[in-house]
Every structure is written in C-alpha cells, then in structure tokens.
Amino acid sequence: MSTRYLPLYVTGALLSLLFGLGAIQFDGFGSMRVVLNLFSDNAFLMITAIGMTLVIISGGIDLSVGSVIALSGVLCGLLIGEYGWHPLAAFALILPLATLFGAIMGMWIHVYKLQPFIVTLAGMFFARGLATMLSEESIAIDHPFYDAVADFGFSLPGNAWLGTSTLLLLLVLVVAVLVMHYSRFGAYVYALGGNHQSAELMGVPVAKATIGIYATSSFLAALAGIVFTFYTFSGYALTAVGTELDAIAAVVIGGTLLTGGSGFVVGTILGVLMMGVIQTYIIFDGSLSSWWTKIVIGLLLFFFIVLQKLLNRGRVQHA
C-alpha cells in the first residue's frame, strides 16, 4: 500500500463531495459551464501554482510570484499599449527576462546559501517595486491580437466555452507532468526535496537544478501575468497582491508536502479547483459571507498538514 497518493485521493474525494453538494443544492451548479469557468477564471493561478509546486517539492518556497505576475502585466501594458509592440514580440522579451529573474534568485539561494524564503521575499519587493516604478497607473492594452485571443476557443455542450487561457493552462499542465515524471530534471526536483545532502552525494547537479527550479517558477508566473492581461486587457502594478499565498495554499491542499519531497502537479490543479469551488459555492449560496472562504481554506490547510504529518510518522515507524 502506498501512502504517496493518499493526499491526492483525499483532495479528489473532498472536491467531488463539495461539488456534488453544490450540484444537489443549487440549480446550474453542476454544469459543464461552471466547471470550465472554474478553469478559465483560475487559469493564471493554476499556472502560477504549477511553478510553485516544483519549488515546494524541491523543498523551497517562492514568495515573488505575485509580484512577477504584476511586473509581467505592466511590461505587457507598456510594450503593447504604450510602445505599440506586437504582443508576441513583447511576450518573447518578457518571458526570458522573467526566467532570468528566477535564475538569479536561484543562484543567490544556491551560491550564497541563503534561505529561499528571504531571497524570494526580496525578489517580491524588487519585482513589485520595479512594476510600480514603471507605471503607477493601470495601462490599457488595445490590440487586435488580444481581441483574437479573446475570441479564440471552442464551444462545448452546456453553454460552456474552452478559451485560450484554459488551453494554455492545459498545455502547461501536460508539459509539467512530463517534466516532473519523465525527465531527469523532474527526478532532481524530487531528489532535492527528499534530502538535499543525499541528493548532492548521489551526484545531483544541485546548482543547475536549484537555478532551473526558480527560473521555471518565475517563467510560469510571468506567463500567468500574460494570461491575466487576457482577462483585464490591461497591466497594473497592484494586481495579484497575495497570489503567492493562494498558490502555496493550493499546492498544500493539492497534497504536496510543504517540507518538500512529495506531491503532484495534478494535485495542485485539484487544490486550485477546490478553492474555486468553495468560492463558487459561497456565491451560489448568497447568504454565506466571503470571509468563510479564508477560514475554510485555513481549516483545509490545517487538515492537510496534520494528515501529512500523520502519514509521515506512520512511515518512520514502518521503516
């Protein structure tokens, strides 16, 4: 019997339960449309959280993602809205820059032996500061490409719409699953989170892996920032404040061990969906207040952390 998948099953079961409850209680809750809206509304968060999953499985944390989303959005606004660049050209500049940003954070963590928490905290201030400095105002983006992006998609039965952001998310998801389970880099991510010292002694290229992990997280955050501009048609320095917390929460609720070493990208998607379903439930209910979302998410977090703790304790005794 493997306890590895247990948190994942628990998340899945809780998600189905809550969704089923909503579907029974409210008309229109259990529809394809609601499901796909969950995906399209939360696509940017899911993309961010996938990056966060990598970081957390490797035993680190990345507090800078919310700010990177904002910075990426502001850059989109500036380059496309103000300087009239083609969006694709803008993306081609923004994504490598963000990757570099993450790589530098990873380098600091590895070379100077600093805690990821404090390095990415500095990164968070830096990216947000840079975004604010570039523009304090929200910059509108008006480009035919954006209209095309908004129009692109597939109609599905049940008045549902499979849009660009959802498709992009699915692409990221597939690549992430392949990388995590079918590439050496993915194995290194798990290895680092399992035991940093052992990983090093087993010959894992720790420097490359650490830098790669944080670079990936920043790349995905910047991509999420671009997706966010698809929703808002604008870039603003104060968007996505606190998104890092949502992402961390989703990762943990998705069954990933916050201390690293175990977890699944798919679980994180379930985690975001869970948070989305709670919100949708509260909206459909109408009488419940929004702060319940925070409390329920806090309780879920507690539940999963204690669950993981118990599972691990069982393991130690087993061995």
């Binding site: 100077y112 600093l114 404090i118 201030f125 830096f126 500061g129 702060w291 952390i305 204690v306």
Partner: protein, 366 residues
Amino acid sequence: MSQQPQSLSIVNKVDSPADEALIAARKARYSPGKSTNALGRYLWPVSALVLLLLVNLFMDASFFSISYQDGRLYGSLIDILNRSAPVALLAIGMSVVIATGGIDLSVGAVMAIAGAVCAGMLVGGNYSLFTVICAGLTVGIVAGLVNGGLVSFLGIQPIVATLLLMVAGRGVAQLINQGQIVTFQSDAFAFIGIGAFLGLPFPVWLVLITLLLSQLLLRRTALGLFIEAVGCNASASRYLGINDKGVKLFVYGLTGFCAAIAGMIATADIQGADGNNTGLWLELDAILAVVIGGAALSGGRFSLVLSVVGALIIQTLSTTIILSGLPAKFNLLIKASVVLIVLLLQSDVFRQHAQSVLKGLKGGKA
C-alpha cells in the same frame, strides 16, 4: 520601573569573598567583559540609522527640529518614531521567534484579530476599557500559543504552522464583526493610537514599555539565554536539560502579545477595525526589521534593541525617499535593494568572496 534592573543586580551581587578575589584576578588577566564582538553588532545597524538621518538633515535642514504644541511634540523625528511603532512592536516579538530558528508569518493577521475583538467590544459600549484591553491581549497570546503548540508539540515547521493563521486569521477577524468595518467612539481607547503622554505620542510609549518589559523578562531571567541556546544548537540544549518545547511555546506567545498591542494601536489610530487591511504585510516588514538588525534567520543571538533600530531604519528610509523628492513609487525598489545588500553582508560565502577579492586587490597594489 527604572529601579528594577538596579535592585536586581544588587540581589545578584557576588556574595562570597573568594568569588570577589576571583573577579579581581580576572580583571587583572582578561580584557573587560564587553568584548569588541558585541560592539560590532551594534555598529552597523546604528550607523546606518545615523547615516540615514544625516542624509535627511542634509536634504532638509529643519529635519531635526522639534516643536512643542498643545502638550505634544511635533517634528519629523517624532513622526518617524510614531509611525514605526507597530512594526517595532512586531519586530520585538519576531526577534525572539527568529532567535529560536523559527518565524511567525501570522502577526499581521493576529493584529487584525485583536483589533477586531477590541472594536467589536467597544461598539456595544458594555465593557470597561480595562476589559477590552485585556481581551485584546488575551486573544493575541492565545493565537501565539496556537502557533507555538503547532510548532513545538506537533512538530510542524514554523513557516508552515504560522502560514495557517496567516491565511485563516483574516477570515476570523472579519467573522468577528460579520465582515463590517466597525467604527467606534471611545476617546479613551483612541488614546492608545493618537494620544500623547509627556509630549510623546502614546504608541512610542507602548514600544518603550514593551521593549523595557521584554528586555527585563528575557535578560533578567534565564529565558533569553535559553532562547539563544535553543536557536544555536537545539540538540545540545536538550542535553543540557533545557525544555526546548516550552521555550518555543513561550516565544510564539510573546509574539502574539506584541502583535495584539500593535493591532490595538492600528485600530485605535483609525478608530475602527478592518479585518482585511489591518496589519497587512506588516509581518514582512517585521522580519525585515529583525534581519536589518543583524539577526540570522537560522537562529541564535538576538537583540531586541537592534530589531527596533531595524524598524526605525525601515521607516526612516521611507521618509528619506519622500524627502529626496524621488517619487514614492521608488520606495519598494529601494527597500528591496536594502534587503539584498543586508542579505549579502550576512552570507558567509559572500564575505569570503569579498575578502579574497580585497586581498587580491591589496596584493595587486603591493
């Protein structure tokens, strides 16, 4: 209050003549008790603060001027003191948590909860000021003990354990007042945030009193030493018979207490409680203040005074940016640069690099 340290030290005075002889012998052999090491710790943060203040004076000649009006002092310096009060309070608690090798992400949320409880009780008008303040402090301590319990008894990583309350705490704060931003009319409670005593704003007094009391509690008992021992080497501390779990429980409780005071200041300041925004992101400033004060995040030595200096540096920096005519939008960027510099200076690896580079330069000249 100011008598206490003296009287304590009298009680503890060396009592046997043999010991006195030894001390005399020591004085003959050793350098004085305060070694250069301790001085060095104060040198950098304090000179950074002084330098920042001087920069401000250079930009604004009236920067140091303080006027007295209606029983209250006014001036930029007073303003900095007043504004840095909440972060300074949080930093006092945060320094002991960090000294044990932990961290408390929930202090901002705890501020909001304590504020919400006080505001909720004040709106009804059924409780005395004393009861309200006690309730606020109790809530803070309980929240801290919850964190401490998760860390020491369930063995959950501090960053994870306190993340729980960071996320859920704001929901709880809103729940207490049903999501309303409650405002209240209570001059007595408002005094905590906007009052003045002997010319100084009351929050400044609160910082001073908390600092003094914590300093007495930690340095006139063995608690401070135990905290540092646990933070430096938890395993060896256990071999010494130190109750490391109890120590951890205590530091989180103290942090909750400090956060509650900070929350009451913030609430009294606007005479209302906003569960969503009270103390938002202040935990990060508090951690920064401790780091700027020279403490290592991995635990060990702590200095409450230096953490308060760290808080003052953060506030002065913001003032400097405004005075310098740079748009406020540069604020965060400069803050980030300061953090990065402090981080680099703390990294052993960087210091070694820098030393070898310096050596190389000297060698090149010679």
